[in-house]
Each structure stands twice: as structure tokens, then as C-alpha cells.
């Protein structure tokens, strides 16, 4: 059946009466189809960017918390391990200076990196850069001191280096097993559509990996 242009088509039913009453209360311009379409579009955008964006941001926070604050049952965390590593480096530096001298270049390099750590952002890429450089500098300093030390001094620096190497292994493994897989998984999600668009609007973009940028 085709309707004439001036005929109206009315749907009746008790459920629609409520909606009909509400529609009746709207101003006249809002009762038109373009207004309804616009309203529908707004709702879609709110759902996608609002709810979807909130979930994406929450997931990003979870991943970052693994790096920034996540702790094991024994209270160990990546940031605590960083602190321990810097302490180990400082202790080894003191022992090596006794052997190599205060003005030794290898010791100065380690000292500079330790000082630089205090000004480093608590971010994976920035911390990786400093720690990676520190590992190399400590290795050079230790080998130089070991070549010259003997007796108790040698025993001391070997022991302090053992502390440093032990914490280094733990730290690298912790990051590789806990943070890196989660970060890579999130980044794959954030790179897909429409997550990439949502992330750009809502500030939930990819997270940094603990690696060179």
C-alpha cells in the first residue's frame, strides 16, 4: 500500500505511548528527522569515544602500572629494583675510586650517570637509556679496577660487582617478563582501527617500550 503524500502513518502500541508523550514535549524543531539523526550520531560518537576511550585509557593505565608501581607478593617492583641498582652502582663506584683514584675517567663516567638518573623521567625509554649506559660504564670501571686491585680491595669490588650483576639480571628479566609483553600487546591494540583514532582523541596512544627509541 502506498501512502499519499499528505497521509500520516501512525504506529500504535502501549510501549510507544510513553515515547510519543515525550516527543510531544520536545520543541517543534527537535521533532524533525534531521534532529533525530543528529541525536543518533551524537550518541554513537559518545559511545565510541566516550565508553571506548575510557576503556582504552584504563587498559593503558594497567600496563603502565606494571612498570611504575606493580609489585610482587614480596614487595619487589621494577622501580625498587632500579633504586637498588643505583645503590649498587654507587657502592661499587666508591670502592673503585679507592683503587683507581678520584679523578679516574671511568669512575667519573659512572658518577655522571648516577647523577643523571635523579633527573630522569620515570618513563621506560628514558630510564632504559640511562641504565643501559650505566651498565656499560660500570663494566668498564669494574674491569679497570679489578686489573689494579688485589687482596681485600679486590675481594670488595668483586663482591660489589656481584651485587650489581645480580640485580641487573633480575631487573632485565622482570621487565622482559612482566612489562614488555603487556606493552607490546597494548601497542598492537592501540595501533588498530578504531582504537588508533580513539587513542588520538582521548590521549590513550601507544606506551613506551623499555628499549632504545
Amino acid at each position: 500500500m502506498e501512502l499519499e503524500q499528505n497521509e500520516t502513518f501512525t504506529i500504535t502500541g502501549p510501549q510507544l505511548e510513553v515515547l510519543g508523550e515525550l516527543e510531544g514535549r520536545l520543541p517543534a524543531p527537535a521533532r524533525r528527522r534531521p534532529a533525530a539523526a543528529g541525536f543518533f550520531a551524537v550518541m554513537v560518537l559518545l559511545s565510541v569515544f566516550g565508553i571506548g576511550g575510557a576503556r582504552l585509557k584504563a587498559r593503558r593505565s594497567e600496563v603502565m602500572s606494571l612498570y611504575l608501581s606493580g609489585a610482587t607478593a614480596h614487595g619487589n617492583s621494577i622501580q625498587n629494583d632500579f633504586s637498588t641498582q643505583l645503590d649498587n652502582a654507587a657502592n661499587l663506584l666508591r670502592a673503585c675510586r679507592k683503587v683507581l683514584g678520584e679523578s679516574d675517567g671511568t669512575c667519573a663516567a659512572v658518577a655522571d650517570l648516577i647523577a643523571r638518573w635523579d633527573d630522569t623521567d620515570t618513563a621506560p625509554a628514558a630510564q632504559y637509556e640511562v641504565i643501559h649506559a650505566l651498565d656499560s660504564a660500570v663494566d668498564v670501571m669494574y674491569n679497570a679496577a679489578k686489573a689494579q686491585a688485589n687482596g681485600d680491595a679486590l675481594e670488595q669490588i668483586e663482591g660489589l660487582d656481584a651485587n650489581y650483576v645480580s640485580t641487573q639480571s633480575i631487573l632485565q628479566r622482570e621487565i622482559a617478563q612482566s612489562y614488555t609483553p603487556a606493552a607490546q600487546e597494548y601497542n598492537a591494540l592501540a595501533a588498530s582501527f578504531p582504537a588508533s583514532l580513539i587513542g588520538a582523541v582521548r590521549g590513550a596512544g601507544p606506551v613506551e617500550l623499555y628499549a632504545a627509541q
Binding site: 610482587t72 607478593a73 614480596h74 619487589n76 668483586e158 663482591g159 660489589l160 660487582d161 656481584a162 651485587n163 650489581y164 650483576v165 645480580s166 640485580t167 639480571s169 633480575i170 628479566r173 622482570e174
Partner: protein, 319 residues
Amino acid sequence: MKPLTRIAAAGLAAAAAAVLAVPALAVSPQGISSDSCIADNAGLFSSDTEEYITNISVALQESCGAQIGIYTIDYIGNNTMEGYAYEVFEAWGLGDADKDNGLLLLMSRGDDDYWATPGEGLESAFTGNTLGELLADNLEEPWVNADYDTGARQTVLALAERIADFYDLDLDLDAVGQGLTTDSSGAAAEVQPAESKRSVFPMILLLVIIAVIVLAILSTPRGPRGPHDPDAPYAPRVPRFFFFGVPRRPRRPAPPPPPRNDRPGGFGGGRPGGFGGNPGGPRPGGGFHSGGARPGGGHSGGSFRAGGGSTRGGGAGRR
């Protein structure tokens, strides 16, 4: 179908070749058992040394859940000592699952190297420096002399004593390792195996139960009788107790007895080593034994059982 069959066969062959042809560069942990704290793949230790180390590890296990495991191998392949020790530790599950207080000593004869890794719960007690010193003081000289028994015994004792200090335990671990213990006067005395100490109460309980049953037999009234030959003379109903074997001879001719239940009793009378375990005497030498013969709900003291602990790696090795 012939071409498809050839292609399928070629594909399978290629897949098999790809899997089998991968060079065995990485050695996987081997010889590990959750019932033993020693995996002597390189055959370095005597049975006395294994017993010594096991005694100490079990004593720690029973005191605080800590466990010391020793793993020997000829070569670790392309692994680092620290990385291989981590894999072995995680595969073994040393230490209590909640306390993570295991400790692994890895000895690689062919690589001429050794390494020790603590569980996460013992990281503060065994820093790299501490472990390095312990190993240098107790293992290096015997290692150089290829006296692996002495090195292992000394090192395990030193590690165990540090664990005992960490948990504030009062244990004479050397005496424990040798199968000796000291009484309150300090005199050394041969210790009864742990299982026999716990055999006293079950034996008493068994005697009490037997006494109760005997009294019940003696005081049982002549109640309703079970089915019997109506032509047979009257006979008292005698209770049947399977673990007492043949019932008491009745005073008058009795009807044929019902079929016997020959299952061993729940108190372990027919099962070797049940409640009572080893009734006494020294534990046989020649290494470790498991507690697998004990009833499921019983106490498994006196035997090693990997606790499921984990590690974050680290540790120290040969300097």
C-alpha cells in the same frame, strides 16, 4: 590422490626435518624430580654426600619450608650460568610456594663453573656479594681439586646455616646432615628416623582400638542371630573383624561363616611402612628415599618434596 599424497608426505617430511634438525644448542633442565633435592646428572656425588645434603634440606624444609637443591651437569650449552640456573629453579620449584625460600646450587663440570640462585624470598639474605663469598670460601678450593663431594657438603652446610640464621632457627645442621642429633646434654646420639618418631602414637592408638574391640567382643550380648542352618545347634553370633584374621573358634558348631573381606585395614596393618613406617634403626644409607608409601592423608615428614617456590633469578657464581 597420488599427487596430493606426495605433497602431503613432502610437507610432513619438511616439517619433521625442521623440527628435528634444529641444533641442540640450548640444554634443557633434566633429571629433576620433585621428590629429590639432588639432580646429579654429571655423577659428581657419592651416596653419602647425597644423604648428607638431603638430610639438611629436609631439616630446613620441615623447619621453615626452605629447600636447597643441587643440580649438576656436564655442559649447559649456549645458556649463561645465571639463565640456566633460573630455568632449573623454575622447573624444580624449590622452596615454599608462598615464601619462595628455595636456593639452587648449579655445578657444571665441563664448563668448569658454578652458580647459586636464591628464591625471591631469600634475596635479602643472599645478595650477590653474600653468595659469591660463600661460594668462594666453601666451593672454590674443592672445585679446583675436583673434590666435588667436599665442596658440595661444605657449601650446602654454609648456605643452610645462613638460612637458619635468617629464620632464627636453632639447628645443628652438620649433625643433621650426618644423621646425628644432639640431646639436651649436648651429647651426640644417633637419631631415629623421623618416621619412627611418629610411629609411637599410632601404635598406642592401635593398641587402644584392639583393646576396645576385645572388650566389645567379650561384652557382646547374645543378640539376634544371622541366618544359619536351622538344623544346626545353637551357636552365638561372633563378630568378624577382618584384620584379626580368622574369627575366634565358637564353643558350639557354627554355621558356615560369611565370605571374608581380605582388604588391609585402614590403620595400615597390611601396608608396609603405613603408620609406623620404619620401626627403628638407622635409615639405610645410599641416598634418598621418597615417602610415597604413606597413606594419602598422613604426614610426609622426613622426605623431600619440592614446595613450588619461584625465583627472580640473579645470584652469584665463580669469581
